[in-house]
Amino acid sequence: MHTNTNTLTAAHRPADVSARRAIWGKLASRTLLWVFLLVTAALILFPIVVTFLGSFMTNAEIATGGRLLPSSLQWSNYAEAWVQANFARFAWNSVYLSVVTTVGTLVVAAMAAYVVDRMQFPGKKAFIAIQASTMFISIGAVVMRPQFELMIKLHLHTSLLGVALILISAHAYVFFILLSFLGGISRELDEAVLIDGGSRSVIFWRVILPLLRPGLGVGALFTFCGAWNEYLRPLVFTMNTPSQQTLTVGLANLRYGASAAVQTHYMMAGACLSILPLLIVYLFANKSFMQMTAGSVKG
């Protein structure tokens, strides 16, 4: 293009026109691009914004609809959902399940990842193969039945601890995340502590775990989100013990309320109680959240 305008001085006008056309074309494609990006953003945000704003509306406002902003803020939706719809209990159960699952998963996965990365022992390859296969083979809800029967034998079928154990047992993904992070921690540290007379467990708890913090952070976010959002297992395990229900289960059950239309504002408030804690953390730490997905491709 440049050579054209320089050499063909006789054809000055057409080149000028084409340059102007190029600028307009560029501007048009820029605009088009931003329209596309913003429309996509609006579609992504719409359900979440509707939930948030709806949680401050009266039930009648939501039902007649057609407006985005509430006419006045109904904080009572939250108070009533918290007390009458039992969301205080659900929230506590969700916190308990998520914390126990996260701590358990990290400890179990970190211990296994440490010995797999640093030690030689028979059966190591088989162990890795088992872990990898549990991530990909799925026969669906079938497994929940034997899991439930096992928990009955352990007298854990009416407690969330049983659900936590089942969630901890699915630690393969975190195991592989930690394994890749361990590869980046120098083995010379291990040797140095051994020479100083420290034991392997001292190395693990005092040296490796603190250095593994970035990996543990990614694993913790991944596990906490998963447990907080888990629906099927808490649902199945609390069918006979409503007092153990988590936010996800309690919220979904509101659909079957005596008169579903009456409770829409509770459902909105309940949905907010469930998604806002994660979204607030996400606002400040979205880079770490995004690591938990991206890590799976980078290896």
Partner: protein, 298 residues
């Protein structure tokens, strides 16, 4: 002596992981492999029936309908999600101002619970006075309420919702792949006069190849497996129109009257679960073979 102590330490640290995985991960699969040869309903007699459950499975129209539904659902989800997320990734990879904020925004659906969002979407897509219908009427795009969760539109609705939850996730996976392509290739090609479209066709796509194949494989497996939000939103209804195969498995074990299946059938359910895993395995393998063939052609 030294060696056996090291083994002891290794196995001790492996023990919690191994026990949990074997007891709660592997044993349930063996349980299913045993019971798929039995007639077992959770109470009463457990009767050995050999391959009868599989005979029944091949005649079970409800199951094969759910298999077809799964492929429609997964296909629809992939057709929307993959191109959209690839475009977003390419656009947000370099240069654009505000790209970090937009990435975070598009990824947001990944971290919220699909069960909770299904409840929200239930309120939005509700045919009677749902929020979407309210807006569409106000904008005069429709005059009568659209029955988004009715037999005609329910599948489209669950596909759109699934795409809403997945686009950001795959965008991020593609971005991870794009960041592996060195900048100087783009720079030198720009010096040679390549435009954006040519760069995408001759640099981005070929260099993204291996990542693209892994991500598509992940996407296929995930979309075949997903049923949680469908379960909350429609329970597979109306009349089985959105029942996918893993939801059918769930309903055989934990039936509800509103889900359309009355009695629990653990033996038959195990056979269905096993068959479903085989179907997913076959699809994955076919895709793997196809992508390897494509590699060789290039």
């Amino acid at each position: 002596m030294q060696k056996s102590r090291a083994y002891g330490f290794s196995y001790l640290y492996l023990l919690p992981s191994l026990v949990l995985t074997l007891v709660l991960g592997v044993y349930p699969i063996l349980w299913a492999i045993r019971y798929m040869f039995f007639d077992y309903r959770g109470y009463g007699e457990v009767i050995f029936v050999g391959w009868d459950n599989f005979g029944r499975l091949f005649r079970d129209a409800q199951y094969w309908d759910s298999v077809v539904n799964t492929f429609v659902y997964a296909g629809g989800k992939l057709v929307i999600t993959l191109p959209l997320s690839l475009i977003l990734a390419v656009v947000l990879n370099r240069g654009l101002r505000g790209r970090h904020a937009l990435r975070a925004l598009y990824f947001m659906p990944t971290i919220v619970s699909s069960a909770v969002m299904a409840v929200v979407f239930f309120i939005i897509f509700n045919s009677y006075n749902g929020i979407l219908n309210q807006y569409l009427r106000k904008l005069h795009l429709i005059s009568d309420n659209v029955d988004w969760l009715g037999a005609d539109h329910a599948m489209l609705t669950v596909i759109l919702i699934a795409a809403w939850g997945a686009v950001g996730n795959y965008m991020l996976l593609f971005l991870a792949g794009l960041q592996g392509i060195p900048d100087d290739i783009y720079e030198s090609s720009a010096l040679d006069g390549a435009n954006k479209r040519q760069q995408f066709r001759y640099i981005t796509l070929p260099m993204l190849g291996p990542v693209l194949q892994i991500v598509i494989m992940l996407a296929i497996i995930n979309s075949l497996k997903g049923y949680e939000s469908i379960m909350v939103l429609t329970e597979g209804g109306p009349i089985g129109a959105t029942r996918v195969m893993y939801l059918y498995v769930y309903q055989l074990f934990f039936p509800t009257p509103s889900g359309g299946i009355e009695a629990q059938q653990f033996g038959y359910g195990s056979a269905v679960g096993f068959m479903t895993a085989v179907i997913v395995g076959i699809v994955t393998m076919l895709y793997h073979m196809l992508s390897r063939k494509l590699n060789r052609l290039q």
